[in-house]
Each structure stands twice: as C-alpha cells, then as structure tokens.
C-alpha cells in the first residue's frame, strides 16, 4: 500500500482510472471539459510552481493552438489528426519566438508582458485578421471533420477518448519532467536560486526557454482539443478577462504539484456549473476563490492533502516517502 502511494506512476494510473470511471456517473461533457481544462492548466501550473513564472497571458497560447486547428479544418483539410498536429506546430513555432523575448524579463515584467500579449492577440484575432477569423462570429467547422478509424474524432465520444489518452500522455511526460529528470531539477532551481544555478555552469536562459516552450506548447495542444471538441473557435477564446482562470485553477489545486491542475479544474468547473444557476457573474466567484486560496497559504488542495496523506500512510513505516513529499511541500511554499 505504502509503495503504491509513493509511486507517482501508479498514482497516475489510479487517478486516471477513477477519472475514466467517473464518466459513467457524471455527464460526459463535464468530464471532457475537466480533462481539457486540466491539460490547459498543467502548463501554467508547471510554470508557476516549478519555474516561478506567473503568466496572465495563457489564453493567447491557447488561442494559437485553437486557431491553428481551426484554420486547417476550415480552409485546407478535413483530417482532425492533422489539424491537431497543425495546431501544436503553430503553437510550437510561435512559442519559440515569443519565448525568446519574454524569458529575458524578470518575473513581474514577465507577467505584465504576457497580459499585454494576451490583449494584443485578442485584438489580432478579433480585428486585424477578421477576414480570416471572422472575429466574434468565429469559424464553424464541425461538419467538415472527417470520421477517422480507431478513434472517431467527429463524434464527442471519440474526442473524449482521445483527450483522455492525451491527458495520460501529458501527465506521464510531466511526471518524468518534474520528478525524474535533471531538467526538472534545474527548473526548480531557477525558481529558488537562479544565481546558484548559473554558478554551477548551467545556461539559465536555455532552461527557461525550454520550460516556456514545453509548457506553452501543451497549452496550445489544449487549445487544439478545445476547438476540436466545440467544432467552433471565436476570438472570445483569448478574451483577456479569462486570463486569470488557469492561474486561479493552478493555485486552487496547488501550483507545481502533479495532480493539482486535475483536482483544481474538477472543482472549478463543478463550482462554476453550480454557481451559474445561482449567480450569473462568475467573476465574483473566481475572484473570491482566488483571494481565499491565496490567503490560506498557497499550497492549494493537493499540496496540503499530499503532506497529510503521506503522513497518514507512513505513520508506522520508514520515512523515505515522507521526506520526498516534504521536499515537495517546501517547494510549494517557496
């Protein structure tokens, strides 16, 4: 039991099995939204918790992926797999370029710059490229998606399974990056003590750049999935007022933890669905939630729960696992 819980791989397996089974209890659209939103949040959470970059501009990267997919499906082809690939590639290219600019800034300038980037991309998609993006009316291409063999992406069922598999892949990737690679350790060092990392002979710029590219390309991937799911993309996807959502969810779940984004998006969407029946202004709720989470200590739900659980499990055993999670806890509170 102990080994089972201290091993991240088995944790991923268990949690995603539960997630898949939840499909039969909760509405499928709800679960699909949770999965895509958690992929979206994963990049943001990684940047906040492991690299120390808070970004209020994530919708921009989401929109780039979404529009890449949408442009391909609307103007060029009909194959959804190629469309997703196009979205990711477009995201990758733009992230490589913007990353080189933004990474040079220190954290507060980075945040403000990203927010400005988000607003500008909103204007670009809404007004400057209105000929191609149709602005707020958006691009509709649901009927153009071809049925594909094995996983049929023209149906919601197929999109769910595909998004689920992608999510498992993303989590395995980030598990490796965060906990089993030198790169993850150096990222953490960027957050804690950049000078020391430079002293040790690492190229800090490249590490930050790579982290930025990986995190935001995952965000673009989420955007591609979104556009495939809705069959529709409009400029509203990069609305600057939505920029806080991924940050809020990361903070709610616990920034930099492996399962924080998943738990955070589950609770966030659940709350939003319930609250939208009571009050129509979600800003009030998100803002309040953010204030409470931040003032309660920024460990988030998973961050606080992990320490508690591992203490419970390791009560009578050796302290190996406890130490591991303690280190993680300290990182969360940094």
């Amino acid at each position: 039991m102990k080994r089972l819980f201290n091993n991240n791989l088995s944790k991923i397996l268990i949690i995603f099995t539960i997630l898949y089974l939840l499909k039969y209890v909760l509405p499928q659209s709800f679960m699909l939204e949770v999965i895509i939103l958690s992929i979206y949040t994963m990049g943001c959470s990684f940047l906040i918790g492991r690299v120390g970059f808070v970004s209020f501009g994530q919708p921009a990267y989401l929109a780039i992926g979404a529009y890449g997919t949408a442009f391909y499906l609307y103007y060029f082809g009909t194959n959804p797999f190629v469309a997703i690939l196009v979205g990711i590639l477009l995201g990758l290219i733009i992230n490589i370029i913007t990353g080189a600019f933004f990474i040079r800034l220190n954290s507060s300038y980075y945040t403000l710059c990203n927010q400005a980037f988000c607003v500008v991309s909103f204007f670009i998609f809404q007004k400057a490229l209105v000929k191609y993006t149709h602005g707020d009316n958006g691009l509709w291409f649901l009927s153009r998606i071809d049925p594909t063999p094995v996983i049929d992406l023209s149906r919601t069922e197929g999109v769910f399974i595909f998004a689920f598999l992608v999510a498992v892949g993303v989590w395995l990737l980030f598990n490796y990056l965060m906990n089993h690679s030198v790169f993850g350790a150096t990222c953490l060092c960027v957050k804690c003590n950049e000078e020391k990392l430079r002293f040790l002979g690492y190229n800090v710029f490249n590490i930050k750049w790579l982290a930025f590219i990986i995190a935001n390309t995952i965000t673009s991937l989420a955007g591609a999935l979104y556009s495939l799911y809705f069959g529709f993309v409009s400029a509203g996807i990069t609305a600057p007022s939505k920029a806080i959502e991924p940050v809020a969810i990361s903070m709610l779940g616990g920034a930099g933890t492996l399962f924080g984004p998943l738990v955070g998006s589950f609770i966030f969407i659940g709350l939003k669905d319930i609250a939208s029946q009571v009050i129509s202004y979600w800003e009030l709720l998100v803002g309040l939630m953010l204030i409470i989470v931040m003032l309660a200590g920024e460990k988030g739900i998973v961050g606080s729960l992990e320490g508690f659980l591992s203490k419970l499990i390791n009560k009578h055993g050796n302290n190996e696992g406890l130490q591991a999670t303690n280190i993680e806890g300290e990182v969360g509170s940094e």
Binding site: S107, Y109, L284, V286, L288, M289, L290, I291, M294
Partner: protein, 289 residues
C-alpha cells in the same frame, strides 16, 4: 493627412497620455515602495468612473461625482489594504499580482451585479471647443491634459519637498533603513496605496466623458497601462510620464493610419524597448527582485 487631423490627433494623444499617466503612476509608486504590483488599481479606476456616472445621473454635477468617486475608492482601498495587503507585504511579487487580480475580478463581478452590463454615457462638464492653430479641439481634452500635468507637478512636489514624500523616496531606496530611523513604514505603505488609489479613481472619473462606462473598462485599459509601466520601468515617476506620453501619441496616430495599429503599435514598441533594456527605460537596477 492634413494639419487639422494631425493637431487633433496630437491633442487626443496628449489627453490619453494624461489618463494613462494618472492610472499608472500609482502602480509604479506601489511597486517602488512596497514591491507589490497592485492590479486592483484597475478596479478603482472603474469604481471611480461608475461613481461619477451615478452622481452625475442623480445630481448632474460632474465635480461632485469626481469627488465621490475618489472618496468611495479610498474607503474600499482602506478595507482592501487592511484585509489583503497587510498580509503579503513581506512576500514575493507573485503573491500581490495574483491576489490583486483576484480583488480586481471580484470587484468587476460586483460592479456587474450593482450597475448591470449596459454601457453608460457621461456628458463632459466642460463643453465648447478651443481654437489651436485654426483647428477646433474639444475643451475637455485640454482640461484633462492640464489636470494630468498639475497632478505630475503635485506628486513631484510631494515626493521632493515634503517630509512624508522624502520618507517615501527613502523607503523606495532602502525600506529597512527607514524603519531603523523610527519611521513606521507600514503607515507609509498605507499612505502610498491610498495616494495611488485616489489617482486611479481620478483617472477613471476624468476618463468617463471620453469613453463609455462599462464593467470591463478596467480590463480594456489594462494592456495599455501595462505597456506604459513596462516601457517606462516600474518604480520610476519620470519613466512613467515619458512612456505615457509616448504610448498616448502612438495609440492616437496609430488609429489615424490603420485602426488595428492603435492596439498593436505600442506592443511592438514595448518589445523593442525590452530587447534593448529588459527593465524598461527608467527601471532601476533594484528591480531585479
């Protein structure tokens, strides 16, 4: 493009610069002294605008509305400072950014709840046109420019000539030494925060006749304010002034040439300046934190 267009665009740019300056000087001061980025200034901006609208709708007096806006936001800011900022002054900038964005978002929700979603117009208190080199320019824009210039001079006087201002400037350089001199730095923090807040509310109030009052007005101006702050460098009043003059003109002339350029040209300038100097034009080397 004839001379009339150029003059009116220039005046429009200057008046926009005035609004940007009033809005961002508070952000800049807060960062300089307290090392927080107070994104809720944009909430005070909208509250100032909404209070002005309400008072103008009730009494018809613009100046009363302006005053009411400033007083209301000061009350809100006192509350927010006590509840939120007191707990995070010692922590990293990230905290204040996320928290104040939360405050901002909550405020926007409350505004939507109280005032509804419809855009609300406010009539300019100063009608009439001024003749500048044969071009008719709305008098209200000239008033905004003069007011912003006056505020700049007043802030400079306050920071350079008064005891309190000197203490604040000393705090920007080295907060610990100021504390060692026996000055209660937290009182200075509160004072600076209230000063920033009232300037933001003033910006919101005087901006109302030039734009529609909508709940998202704070969100709409956020990008320009950030660009001003980033180009000028956080924590520098002079930098804020220069960059707000620059951004105002770029926005005004950009929209004259091609409408989307108004939004994108300042961003391009920001990127170029950051490439040359990652701390902005006048950002000091202390801002590494």
């Amino acid at each position: 493009m004839n001379a009339h267009l150029i003059i009116s665009a220039f005046v429009l740019g200057l008046s926009m610069s005035g609004v940007y300056f009033l809005l961002t000087v508070g952000l800049s001061l807060c960062y300089g002294l307290m090392r927080i980025i107070s994104l809720d200034q944009f909430l005070y901006y909208s509250v100032g605008a909404y209070m002005t609208y309400t008072i103008v709708a009730v009494t018809g007096n613009f100046w009363l509305g302006l005053l009411a806006g400033i007083l209301t936001t000061i009350l809100i800011a006192l509350f927010v400072e006590k509840i939120v900022y007191k707990r995070i002054y010692e922590k990293s900038v990230m905290f204040s950014m996320i928290l104040s964005f939360g405050v901002n978002l909550m405020g926007v929700g409350l505004i939507k709840y109280i005032w509804g979603l419809e855009p609300k117009p406010v009539k300019a208190p100063i009608g009439g046109n001024l003749n500048i080199f044969g071009t008719e320019v709305p008098g209200y824009r000239i008033f905004v420019i003069l007011l912003a210039a006056l505020v700049y001079l007043a802030v400079c006087y306050f920071l350079n000539k008064t005891i309190l201002g000197t203490a604040i400037r000393a705090g920007i350089d080295d907060a610990e030494k100021v504390e060692a001199l026996g000055i209660n730095i937290y009182k200075l923090f509160t004072l600076t925060f209230l000063l920033a807040t009232s300037l933001s509310a003033l910006a919101g109030a005087i901006h109302t006749p030039m734009v529609m009052v909508v709940p998202d007005m704070g969100m709409n101006i956020i990008a320009f304010a950030f660009m001003v702050v980033i180009i000028g460098g956080l924590g520098s009043i002079k930098g804020t002034l220069i960059s707000s003059l620059l951004v105002g003109q770029v926005v005004s002339f950009g929209s004259l040439i091609w409408a989307p350029l108004a939004d994108m040209a300042p961003f391009m300038i920001m990127i170029i300046i950051l490439l040359i100097k990652p701390t902005g034009l006048y950002g000091s080397k202390y801002m590494k934190r």
